[in-house]
Amino acid sequence: MGILEKLQNLDKRVFYLLMALAIAIPTIWPLGLEVSITPPVRKTYEFVESLPAGSVVLIGFDYEPGDEIELSPQAKALFRQFAAKRIKVVTVASFPVGPMFADECLRVLKDLGYEYGLDYVNLGYYAGGESTLAAFAKDPSSIFTKDWYGNDVSSLPLMQQIKSMADFSMAMTLNDGPTGGTGTHEWVRQSVMAHGTPFVIGCTGVLAANNMPYLDAGQVRGVLSGLRAAAEYEKLVGIKGDATRGMDAQSMGHVLIVLFVLLGNVGMVFARRRSNGGEKR
């Protein structure tokens, strides 16, 4: 068997090793590649810019640890834009670990002078998925009586002005798909469809294809998908954060996969030619 035929059946471990190197090297020594801004991200940015100063937005932290690397940078970049406009933030979560991610991301706002209870609130986790979200959308106090830190929700000034989903100027989910929590479809049904609240999607890269129809149909105002969108948003708000650094590693990973797929096909073509030649002889 020649080298070219061998390309068809390379050992998995060779690929694993090369992939580990392709990701590790640019993480340690960044390449500093520039990202361009795609239309879905620009639409999101422009929509947030159009919100009046002092608006209140609702963010669902509907993801788990594995997806933190893609979704937390989206939240942090968005929060910087919110801070510039003094937009107030309420967070909820459909996974038990969600409030902890919210807590970590909300530190961006705290560091920029936001005050808890007045400018931002972390309500915590709700069980029961879409049904509970629907109940929350009609009457938040029916689901949350205490916030994540144990404070009475009724005592928080920000929550006193929220009587239903319609009181939010924007709702958003940062979600990793239909993985047990409330994902895009559930949020769209319970926010924009049920209460007319403008909606924005933040999702992992793999969900981009699934969420685009909502943007094209005009049901949502923007879509942020994956680390790439977070990197673009960081560029728009003028910072170089985790997402910008992560794009170098992602670049190398994508190129390596494409390279391997092409090599496999080259091997297949040569093997096929050789076997055809053999048959002729």
Binding site: E64, P65, D67, G177, P178, G180, L207, A209, N210
Partner: protein, 254 residues
């Protein structure tokens, strides 16, 4: 009385339910409704047979979802698989992610063993709740596949990003793999790594395929009629919008 902008939705739902209900009634009265063969479902017997011949366990998981339609379709398949596994004395290991799904899954499996006349063969410890955390579930299932060296791996239900991790683990232990999900963006992963894939809403034919369930057959026919109406609306809408009319768009928004 009506909530604003939901009048059309209400009547659309009524028409859909009416069509499905009418065809269920027709099917129960003996209307001749047939479904095309679905390779993934047909391969399930082969997967059970392989596990029996090799004396190795068979693994099934309804995925990561809660009690949603895709999970119920998976449980329909499980009912058949558990009955056949009981008949052939093949060991069936079921892994579940969501707690509410676990309760229903165990009941479905227990009932299938009872129907096969082998209630005593059901081992509750082989119906395993893993974790509602996505990656804990994924690693738990990979652990089961690797430790138990399963001969066949069947994954039908709601799957997200863990799909490929499970499928590659099954591939590594050399199991015959059958997968099905309605999550369009996970289907490519299954196609790449599994032997048979049940595509999208083909899953909802599980009850009709395995049990010749009249209600299921009727509802499938009803669904086909609704799809035909939707296709008609899409074509008419595209033509009207192209010629500058917003009639259909406005009607749908009523």
């Amino acid at each position: 009385m009506f909530v604003a902008k939901r009048i059309f939705d209400f009547f659309a739902l009524m028409v859909a339910c009416g069509l499905i209900g009418w065809w269920i009634r027709q099917a129960m009265r003996g209307a001749n409704i047939r479904i095309r063969p679905i390779a993934g479902f047909d391969a399930i017997d082969e997967a059970i047979g392989r596990a029996t011949e090799m004396g190795k366990p068979l693994h099934f998981t309804p995925g990561f979802g809660g009690l949603v339609a895709a999970t119920f379709a998976g449980l329909e398949a499980l009912s058949y698989i558990a009955r056949k596994a009981a008949e052939y004395d093949a060991r069936l290991i079921v892994t579940v992610s969501q707690p509410e799904t676990y309760a229903v899954t165990e009941q479905v499996e227990r009932q299938a063993y009872l129907e096969a006349g082998k209630a005593d063969s059901f081992r509750p410890e082989d119906c395993r709740f893993i974790s509602p955390d996505q990656w804990a579930y994924a690693s738990g299932v990979v652990g089961v596949l690797m430790r138990e060296k399963v001969a066949s791996n069947i994954m039908i239900g709601q799957f997200a990003a863990e799909s490929l991790i499970l499928a590659e683990a099954g591939n590594t232990v050399g199991a015959i793999q059958i997968a099905g999900t309605t999550n369009a963006y996970q289907i490519p992963f299954f196609v790449a790594a599994c032997d048979y894939v049940i595509l999208g809403d083909e899953m909802f034919a599980a009850g009709a395929h395995f049990a010749d369930n009249k209600a299921h057959l009727g509802s499938l026919r009803g669904e086909d009629f609704i799809k035909a109406i939707c296709i008609g609306l899409i074509i008419v809408g595209a033509v009207l919008t192209t010629f500058g009319s917003n009639f259909l768009t406005n009607l749908l928004a009523k």
